[in-house]
Symmetry: C2
Subunit: 391 residues, 2 copies
């Protein structure tokens, strides 16, 4: 069967864009991706988005975004998997291309959170959790993750400071990323002085609220990909070598183990199996660090680190420049930002640019194989992709 | 490439189920489909839903429904395309199976509208229209369709009564359908005496608000399909011979022509092309008649009738028992009901049963080829499938 390649990527800066609508942001990202693909127009659109229904009062989102971008008529639909919507859109878009249902597909992601004030956004984000068995009782999404962070710290003996090396480093990376929402360095003092949102999670341990849109263009078959790469002036191809998705219970009370993200492990195994490689073959990764503990757990459950050891290894310098894998040079959700349903697409776009060598921020050491890890809910819906550079 | 078959279907009765949650309804439909498929369990779930975010306060819907049904862990995500969400889920699910990303996929649909009172449902339904350029000005979804109905009546010279033969017949069909929300006959007097919702659309010209869930099981390859059919005691196979999706502008003011549903025409052409047949080869169809005018326009724009003539032909007895195609023996959205994001999956399940000869309501004349037509918005997102019976 024909292979699937990513021939173009585009994204907006992440921020609080009160003066721009969701459709405007998305159109900018999509057209950057089309231009990056030498002008090839997608014949279908799959868009990852969580909160257009609750914050933008807008359904029919796929058609709306296709039309506004000047692509009226093409097949277009929205995929929702909470914060993993972008990854899920990639999963669906990959299948559309691989199956031949469409030969050129745009996979996009959009979130426009500044349509509402923070209390409404907090309520909308909580819809990633179980409405009847969790949110009904008043817990927020940060509250759920805080319980897991506390347990993780107790089980593995980490302090507030121990876990704070993650955001410290993410802010440093983001300071080089022109698309980042928080492109500035921070200090351990600033992190530890920042207010507690939900104990033990502080403001600087959590991803910010922001708007953003990203898109990647998928095509079917090496011949088509080479033709487009040539037109775009590139001599490398980026293959989507594997995609894996797995889920878990939405309510965390019925999990087997609160500090092991089973869906992450399953999705990673599936994507690596499809790509025919092992976890040790991954050169570069973008992982879903909505909170500091999530970033560490991702490293562990993907298989990059033994359980409970990621914070120690990270503090020692692992997963940083020159290591294998290098991780989150975008700045991660923490500092690049987390435009919810778009995040999974940002990660893929960033990984593609790192593989091509043209990421305009902190550069990886010429990786050949990259992995992206995107989650919805508290590791409820996870999508992992494996991308591979061809000569 | 391997073909895709539907090996099991299941649905709940449509109604106002205040005492049941969405996850309960969906689980019932999914397990009926699994049992109908001889017990084969899906390895992925794609669920069509429009309003879980607005009416159930629930995102992460795919994972939630998979877990509640006892299938924790499988890839699962929601597809949103307004009232066309069920059709869009079929489109995505077809690609997952066809590509081999998953070999057994459940495509489901769910809507739980009785979570809220009618004004809230009306507002949520309006999110199918353009939030910024239509709904902001106060129009409802029925209001938009009413403008089109009025124009259609003026252009083609039809009266209130002329268009009312559609609901008259739909109620008759629904009276035989054990799953229908309104399983009772009506009269021309009752229709014409019913209150106007948005002039010229009366209560009996519109689909009711209701809850419901449906699911179909897709598998990859004839061998697997034959094995399952045998285990389920059937000697026929149902192939998904074609799927087509197309979109239009969300706001109707920027359409080329208000009485021609261009997305319907495009999606139908694509599905028929993929199936290698013409519109004249279709024996049976389920079309999306959210309003009487929508049903007629669907017949015209799919290509079953010349533009403007469907009401006249229907009144004369065309598209009814013994004709080619026979249409909407379920009772249609009008009387079977319209559990929004599930409707497209109901249509597919009904068409499969008509092809197999085991639909428990008004029976078609042994069709070999069936077509389903599902729309989101005012013909904004349309999905057409072509199903074919194999011996």
């Amino acid at each position: 069967m024909e292979k699937v390649f990513i021939v173009g990527v585009g994204m907006t800066k992440i921020g609080r864009f009160y003066e721009q609508s969701g459709r405007e942001l998305f159109s900018q990202a999509l057209w950057k991706a089309i231009e990056d693909a030498g002008g090839v127009k997608p014949r279908a659109l799959v868009v990852g988005n969580m909160m257009s229904s609750t914050l933008m009062n807008q359904d029919s989102l796929g058609a709306l975004l296709a039309d506004y971008a000047g692509l009226r008529g093409i097949p277009a639909f929205k995929v929702e998997a909470a914060c993993g919507s972008g990854g899920a859109a990639l999963y669906a878009g990959y299948a559309l291309v691989k199956s031949g249902v469409a030969d050129v597909v745009a996979v996009g992601g959009l979130e426009k959170q500044t349509e509402a004030t923070t209390p409404y956004v907090t309520r909308a984000l909580a819809q990633a959790a179980d409405a009847d068995f969790e949110v009904f009782y008043g817990v927020t999404f940060t509250g759920l993750n805080a319980m897991i962070a506390r347990l993780y710290m107790q089980l593995f003996g980490y302090s507030d400071e121990d876990l704070s090396y993650w955001p410290l480093k993410m802010h440093e990376y983001a300071s080089y990323n022109p698309y980042a929402q928080l492109p500035r360095k921070t200090s351990m003092k600033e992190i530890l002085d920042s207010p507690v949102i939900a104990d033990p999670i502080r403001l600087f341990h959590a991803a910010p609220i922001g708007d953003g849109a990203a898109a990647v263009i998928l095509v079917r078959g090496e011949e088509k990909a080479r033709e487009i790469a040539k037109a775009a002036g590139r001599d490398t191809l980026i293959e989507v070598a594997g995609v894996g998705m797995a889920t878990d219970s939405v309510d965390i009370a019925s999990r087997n183990n609160l500090v092991v993200m089973e869906a992450t492990a399953k999705a990673a195994q599936e994507a690596l199996r499809m790509a025919g490689i092992g976890v040790k073959d991954v050169d570069y990764a973008e992982v879903h660090d909505a909170f500091h503990v999530t970033g560490y757990a991702a490293l562990e459950d993907i298989g990059f680190a033994p359980k409970g050891e990621a914070p120690r290894l990270f503090k020692e310098g692992r997963f940083q420049k020159g290591d294998k894998p290098e991780v989150n040079f975008s700045g991660g959700l923490k500092a690049r930002g987390h435009p919810v349903g778009a995040t999974g697409v940002y990660q893929v776009a960033e990984a593609v640019m790192q593989l091509r060598g043209d990421f305009p921020g902190f550069k990886a050491s010429s990786p050949e194989t990259a992995l992206t890890h995107n989650m919805g809910g508290v590791s409820t819906i996870t999508v992992v992709s494996v991308l591979r550079r061809w000569k």
